[in-house]
Symmetry: C2
């Protein structure tokens, strides 16, 4: 990944491997917090514990660091969607997709914010990835969902908006972490918070919010939706 400009050999040394890693880790920290334009190489250098020219020995430009980060992260970021299985039970698939996305929001909030920053500011560096691999994957999974509705396995609904809504509800906990903490006092890492959020979202996507009306008898208290 990191190819020092002064390197005369093509082989990558152990140090190149390690330092490249170290830099990207620091870059993720800073880029995800301040966005591309708000990040300075000096900030990354300080977090990485090396000098600015040393960073630029491994990555020629600030943009190269950003690029390398995006490339590395985008793939794993789309993994949960790839795991969406056409053969599986729709309800189970949706539930576990929600959980997987929520786990990523909890465990990799910086990666989520890196993308959020980028997309929010018009995706000047990743437009191709959005229109290419991402769109392709979404189209593919949208077709899976459409097949489910055709088979009557889930309610008739727009598959694209469904995917958008799962993305937005789950990533919200990473991207708007400050707001969540301001309102809730804690984020997804807080005690029991993850389960709270997961249960709510599963219920929302499976049953919606209106009390189920299996029987005409709608007796006062027992309004919990049966699952």
């Amino acid at each position: 990944m990191a190819i020092p400009r002064a390197a005369k050999t093509q082989r990558r040394t152990r140090i190149q491997e390690e330092k490249g890693e170290q830099i990207l880790e620091a870059a993720l920290e800073v880029f995800s917090q301040h966005g591309f334009r708000g990040t300075t190489i000096d900030q990354i250098a300080e977090v990485a514990g090396m000098s600015k020219p040393n960073l630029l020995y491994y990555f020629r430009t600030k943009e190269a660091m950003h690029r390398a980060l995006i490339d590395r992260v985008l793939d794993t970021w789309l993994d949960p969607l790839r795991a969406f299985d056409a053969e599986g039970n729709p309800e189970t698939e949706i539930r576990s997709y929600i959980r997987r996305k929520l786990e990523m929001a909890r465990d990799f909030p910086r990666e989520s914010r890196l993308f959020a920053n980028e997309v929010l500011q018009g995706a000047p560096h990743i437009e191709d990835e959005l229109k290419g691999p991402l769109k392709t994957l979404v189209d593919e999974k949208a077709e899976v969902i459409r097949a489910w509705t055709r088979a009557g396995k889930i309610a008739k609904c727009d598959p694209y908006h469904l995917i958008f809504s799962i993305w937005s509800t789950t990533q919200h906990y990473a991207d708007f972490d400050v707001q969540v903490r301001a309102v809730l006092g804690q984020n997804l890492s807080g005690d029991g918070r993850f389960e709270d959020a997961a249960r709510f979202l599963e219920q929302l996507f499976v049953d919606g919010l209106m009390p189920r009306h299996r029987e005409p008898a709608t007796e006062g208290d027992e309004a919990v939706s049966g699952r």
Copy 2:
């Protein structure tokens, strides 16, 4: 709002009113696109069609412009939530809250991105507003929702996560506009797109995605959720 530092009188002239307006409009355009740190005063000046020192005649610092923008926008931004009526019919209230938020995402995407940028980067300038007025309002409306669940009018669910999910799903169309356009080819302003999104979200929040099972007979095709 804009109080020129050289002003000897306290009265605000017509010019001050107009230019202040003009500057904030330009500032919204640029801040919402690049975030606070990514925005330069020169950029705002160019969009506003005046010189940099002239901007600084009306707003002493870049931060003052940002501050004025936030203050002006935050209030109207929370209006839809304020309209949430405890006396109303829960289903109707939720449906119209979703629609109102979706309309704002369509009609005021820059305002949405202004906040998104700010919150995403740790809300360094609006932390007080989040922990103060915003939290207060959310707590109040959460109590309304809780009352509804107690009365069995809606399913038992966490009111805070419900509010988060409405925020995230609707604002997604403004904040991640580039991504939406990359996947869908159009955004909410596109022909019929608003209705598509609105209908999907209403269905999601009211009925969820599983086909309704009023009768034990789950006959193949007719899986559209009732109502």
